[in-house]
């Protein structure tokens, strides 16, 4: 069957199981958009309002489903607008394939209209990328790209397709064979020595702690994690992206770790004699000062990316492998053990946790973010997919909205991309139409990508947007309060009337200023089939506690002043 390159792209997407793609047309990608008219029954194209939104939507789709998300843009500015989203997906290992148009092959290098060296520009923010110069290679490259994006440590892959390659005609034969990439061999299992060393450490540990990251869910090792924790009685601490790897009300879960994590987790890590790090990467936001990090522990680190082992923290047993495979090697040989004293100590730390007393604050006249998030959790039965943006509301979401299922807490953890939350929630809803999806965003981040309100309206996509409006760039303000003597440079923020804005887009809205209205706002959002915007006008100068200041020791947490002592 003779097809144009543009048609080959779409045929290949269909064979990869793609149903929806997020994009924006333009000159160099027009042949592919024209070809879409033949495939409207199989491929739905979502027209975004800015290509950054397309990349975040593809990322949100990928995070919610575990499948590859696809975004499309034209050459030059279209492609460069994708870069923030690709970098976001790269840092959080999210499988995304981006297809960009490029000027014709003979024009490459001539500074043609809308020409950018996109493969060069995206080199550091993609797992791999391609410039296709021959139409004959196109199908093979697309198959390779999806394979690379979704296997090993997943990540974004970009395919740059010149316009003449999209227009060129060739015989289309889909490559049915497996992909053979001699330079791409993701590790599989652990070797016998490594298993013996792990078993030995597990058997002899008195104060073990599991650190469970995003890799648990990506590897599908959720049941194995639970078995490990239950049989060896090891408390589980979660990274931000590890939330949902195991139900957070499971008795072995202590909470989440790091800069704004649970104090009990950070204490447990610092006091442990064995850390078992599973699919996580010892990011500086979870370690604090690496010189004083968990000083008395042996460390096991299992990760699919060998370059993560011994990168930030030197470990005793580094294991490059697929987590599920490795745990399945270990579990049958592992003895069941218990550490009641250790668990009791951790329970004492948990009881000492101070963050929750904020819920009891009398707030006549003011609304606190923690209360909003707690009540959203309550009235959504703790069962929604939440997609948070970046900042105070993101940390408070992590503190007050416990998640029970994998892939239901989506957030930009590694890159910390403001503007991610709202478009990613649209992508998540396309991937999981049967789920209740809430974008939880701040007034700052929302204004970075609010143009996608039009996309949500045009698609009538049923996402609920919760804007936590404190009229500040709250997290930056918090740092200014703590470390810059309250010089609030460029953090007080004027916003539009969000409800009128929603009205302009034809989106129903509600403004909440009192805690008593939160339940009603959830019911209102649920009553509408389509996008809804709820603005929660909260206290302006809140703090997120506990907090490990950047670079401080992990146990050196700033705690919330006791009720009545509040500054």
């Amino acid at each position: 069957m003779k097809l144009k390159g543009a048609e080959i792209i779409l045929e290949c997407l269909i064979r990869e199981g793609v149903e929806v793609m997020f994009g924006y047309p333009g000159g160099a990608i027009l042949p592919t958009y024209d070809a879409m008219t033949k495939y409207t029954d199989k491929l739905h194209h979502v027209l975004v309002r800015h290509e950054q939104g397309a990349s975040h939507m593809a990322d949100g789709y990928a995070r919610a489903t575990g499948k590859v998300g696809v975004c499309i843009a034209t050459s030059g500015p279209g492609a460069t607008n994708l870069i923030t989203g690709l970098a976001t997906a790269m840092m959080d290992s999210s499988p995304v394939v981006a297809i960009t148009g490029q000027v014709t092959v003979p024009a490459i290098g001539s500074d043609a209209f809308q020409e950018t060296d996109v493969t060069g520009a995206t080199l550091p923010v993609t797992k791999h990328n391609y410039l296709v110069t021959e139409v004959e290679e196109l199908a093979y490259i697309i198959k390779e790209a999806f394979h690379i994006a979704r296997t090993g440590r997943p990540g974004p892959v970009l395919i740059d397709v010149p316009k003449d390659v999209q227009n060129a005609i060739t015989e289309f034969i889909y490559p049915e064979d497996d992909i053979h990439l001699p330079g791409y061999r993701p590790p599989e299992g652990a070797d016998d020595d490594e298993i013996e060393e792990m078993l030995d450490l597990l058997k002899n540990a008195e104060r073990p702690v599991i650190l469970a990251g995003h890799g648990v869910t990506m590897s599908g090792a959720n049941a194995e994690l639970q078995e490990l924790a239950e049989r060896a009685q090891i408390p589980i601490t979660l990274t931000l992206l590890g939330k949902g790897a195991i139900p957070e009300d499971h008795p072995m879960v202590v909470g989440w770790m790091g800069m704004h994590g649970d104090a009990a987790c950070n204490h447990a890590i610092q006091e442990a004699d064995l850390l078992i790090a599973l699919g996580m990467r010892f990011d500086d936001r979870v370690t604090g000062n690496i010189k004083t990090y968990s000083p008395n522990s042996k460390k096991i680190h299992i990760d699919i990316d060998p370059s993560e082992l011994n990168k930030n923290i030197l470990v005793d047993v580094p294991v490059a492998g697929d987590l599920k495979t490795v745990l399945r090697q270990v579990l049958p040989k592992m003895q069941d053990v218990s550490h009641p004293e250790w668990l009791n100590r951790i329970r004492d730390w948990q009881e000492d946790a101070d963050e929750r007393d904020i819920l009891k604050h009398d707030t006549s006249g003011k609304l606190l973010t923690a209360q909003v998030i707690n009540d959203l959790w309550k009235y959504t039965d703790g069962n929604a997919i939440t997609v948070s943006d970046v900042g105070q509301h993101q940390m408070i979401e992590a503190q007050y909205y416990p998640h029970q299922r994998p892939s239901t807490m989506l957030t930009s953890g590694g890159l910390g991309t403001m503007g991610f939350g709202f478009p990613a929630s649209i992508g998540a809803k396309f991937g999981k139409p049967e789920e209740e999806v809430w974008a939880i965003v701040g007034d700052g981040g929302f204004q970075m990508t609010l143009c996608e309100l039009a996309t949500a309206r045009q698609e009538n996509i049923n996402v609920n947007i919760a804007i936590i409006n404190n009229a500040f760039l709250g997290m930056v303000r918090q740092w200014q309060e703590l470390f810059y003597d309250r010089r609030y440079q460029s953090t007080p923020m004027l916003s539009p009337d969000f409800c009128k804005l929603a009205e302009a887009y034809g989106i129903p809205s509600m403004r909440v200023t009192d805690r008593s209205q939160v339940q009603e706002s959830v019911e209102f959002a649920r009553s509408i089939d389509g996008p809804v915007l709820i603005e929660y006008v909260v206290e302006k100068e809140e703090m997120v506690y506990p907090m490990v200041p950047a670079g401080a020791d992990l146990h050196d947490m700033k705690r919330r002043p006791k009720t009545g002592e509040e500054a």
Binding site: K127, L131, A139, Y140, P175, H180, G183, Y184, P306, S307
Partner: protein
């Protein structure tokens, strides 16, 4: 395994990479963004038309060779990576040195120095001569210091290439897929 640097603190990493456009750029970009400090990097062809071989020398004080190798391995176009330093190997650097030879003394001196080293004069004129010197990085450096008093006016070094001794063969059977005009990819040789 702990890598013992040679006495100069240098560690040699070799990589087999796909011989196609952009691969060197990927590697250079990786070294830059990971802040790996590299002493020398050479890339050249092998007996396989689709495979190039890189030799990378890092200073163990300034870059961790395990990190360099692990990150290189992540690049899709890098077929294999090996750290050579712990095994017996041959390493060679080549220098072309243009030296002042505008009097009889300096010409004689140059000839005498070259006799003591695997070096030879490959171009000579009334004012300057070009000397070619091949040896380990340290040996070439030593030679350069010997000729420096004569007056070096221009110099270039290729950087180190290296190969393990004996029957330890470091090779790949990699062949890229061949794209026929009917769009089918054929693997002539799958490893």
């Amino acid at each position: 395994m702990t890598i013992q640097p040679n006495p100069t603190g240098k560690i040699t990493v070799v990589a087999l990479v796909e011989n196609k456009p952009g691969v060197l750029n990927r590697i250079a970009s990786l070294f830059r963004r990971r802040a790996f400090n590299v002493d020398s990097l050479t890339v050249g062809r092998t007996h396989r038309p689709h495979v190039s071989r890189m030799t990378i020398v890092v200073d163990s004080e300034r870059a961790n060779p395990h990190k360099v190798a692990a990150n290189l391995s992540k690049l899709i176009n890098v077929i294999d990576v090996q750290i050579l330093t712990n095994m017996p190997h041959i390493s060679r650097d080549l220098a072309l040195i243009k030296v002042r030879t505008d009097d009889a003394d300096s010409r004689n001196n140059l000839t005498e120095i070259c006799d003591l080293y695997p070096a030879r004069i490959v171009d000579i004129g009334p004012e300057v001569a070009i000397v070619e010197m091949i040896g380990t990085e340290a040996y070439v450096a030593e030679f350069i210091e010997r000729v420096r008093p004569l007056g070096i006016v221009e110099m270039v070094r290729t950087g180190v290439v290296a190969m393990g001794r004996g029957t330890r063969i470091y090779d790949t059977e990699y062949e890229p897929p061949v794209f026929t005009k009917n769009g089918a990819a054929k693997h002539t040789n799958v490893i």
